[in-house]
Subunit: 212 residues, 2 copies
DNA sequence: ATTTTTATTGACTCACCAATCAATAAAAAC
DNA sequence: GTTTTTATTGATTGGTGAGTCAATAAAAAT
């Protein structure tokens, strides 16, 4: 019963199934057949659309990465909107910094399957050049996002950005290992550390949280 | 040409070879035959001594973990020795905290093969109960080591310890991903963050009352 | 000197899985 | 209505690798 124009839907289904399967198995050692079955199709079709297992995993990684990015953009837009176009000059970068941090710990990013899959992708990135490229892309983007705000908040922005990025990754990593779901304390922990790090050369920290 | 009493040597050789092989392949997908060959023996012998691939990987993980522990003990002993038995009261916990942090970034711990292998072990710990146990052991030990000093240095030691542990793991993770060898800046970055964190809840420079 | 124990090998088995492919069928194009 | 394109299946192939085992040999024990 072939319907036409199935390709995008099937690709999306396979990507979602791959993340779930990897997240549930807590390992990259999942078969194409398992993923395809979960996505409601035959293994042959999975190969037809992705050409191979590796490319499917890359696509899954890219999908999670896109989720991170979307989360950050959404968080920033929200801060922009709620503070208004003529808000005080000092609330801007600080609130945006907190929003960037919070974005990495939002519930849909902190989903058990996704954290577990992401941890597996760290392993993949070690041995697969394309996965390594994506990982670097993620790291550069996070660093650049942090830098954009930190330049206005402290006088050693590069060092501070590196520290914060490592802290974000570390907190996320530990959550992935623990396998516990979303943890509201995670974002707060990183945010207050961020405030401490910039305190040396910045204004008083009035509000630490941006999400109400 | 069987010599007697080979078991310990062969086990050690296999563990070392496993770490090197995993570290070089940057993946857990190494064959027992490869490891055995690198260790200078047949695949059969590897199975004979370890019973299976998984147990060999566990042993390798345990070996790296032991290296961490040794590094910490050594660092602490060194601090103790150089400050002397009747040194000033304020140099103690702070110096020991720094030593614990530095221990995690010493050259032999920061070895390329070991960082890479350790990253792979994160993946293993997700799906293998015994590896998960070892990972928890590592985390508990690190946390407990940090706590021991932080209790004397700040009044939210648990939170601070969690943050520092995540930061240490994050910095180590990023080094593993980057694949660059030992980085002298790594320890320093974590140490100065630690100083900031305990300054946030500053205590009197000398002995402090137990807060719980 | 014989027996037992320990060390060691590598060929073999068995299972698994990625990738291929020929076959089938619905839709679209002509 | 015929042809072409797209979707889909699942059996098959080919390669791989973990784990087993029987055979061999040196050392130790008797």
């Amino acid at each position: 019963m072939p319907k036409v124009g199935m390709e995008p839907a099937r690709r999306a289904a396979l990507v979602a199934a791959a993340i779930d399967e990897i997240g549930e198995a807590r390992s990259l050692d999942v078969t194409v057949a398992q993923i395809a079955r979960r996505a409601g199709m035959s293994s042959g079709l999975a190969h037809h659309y992705f050409g191979g297992k590796e490319q499917m995993l890359i696509a899954a990684m890219r999908h999670i990465l896109a989720g991170f990015g979307q989360s950050v953009r959404q968080g920033l837009a929200q801060v922009e909107a709620q503070s208004g176009p003529q808000s005080g000059p000092q609330s801007g970068p600080r609130a945006r910094l907190c929003a960037i941090i919070a974005a990495n710990f939002e519930d849909h990013v902190f989903d058990r399957h996704k954290t577990s899959a992401w941890l597996s992708f760290y392993a993949l990135a070690q041995s697969t050049p394309e996965a390594a490229r994506l990982m670097r892309l993620y790291q550069r983007r996070l660093h650049s996002n942090l830098m954009h705000e930190l330049r206005q908040l402290c006088d050693a922005p590069t060092d501070t950005a590196r520290t914060l990025a490592a802290l974000i990754d570390g907190v996320y990593l530990r959550a992935a290992v623990a396998g516990t779901g979303p943890d509201p304390a995670a974002a707060h922990r990183v945010q207050s550390t961020a405030m401490l790090l910039i305190k040396g050369s910045a204004v008083t920290p009035d509000r630490v949280e941006t999400n109400d």
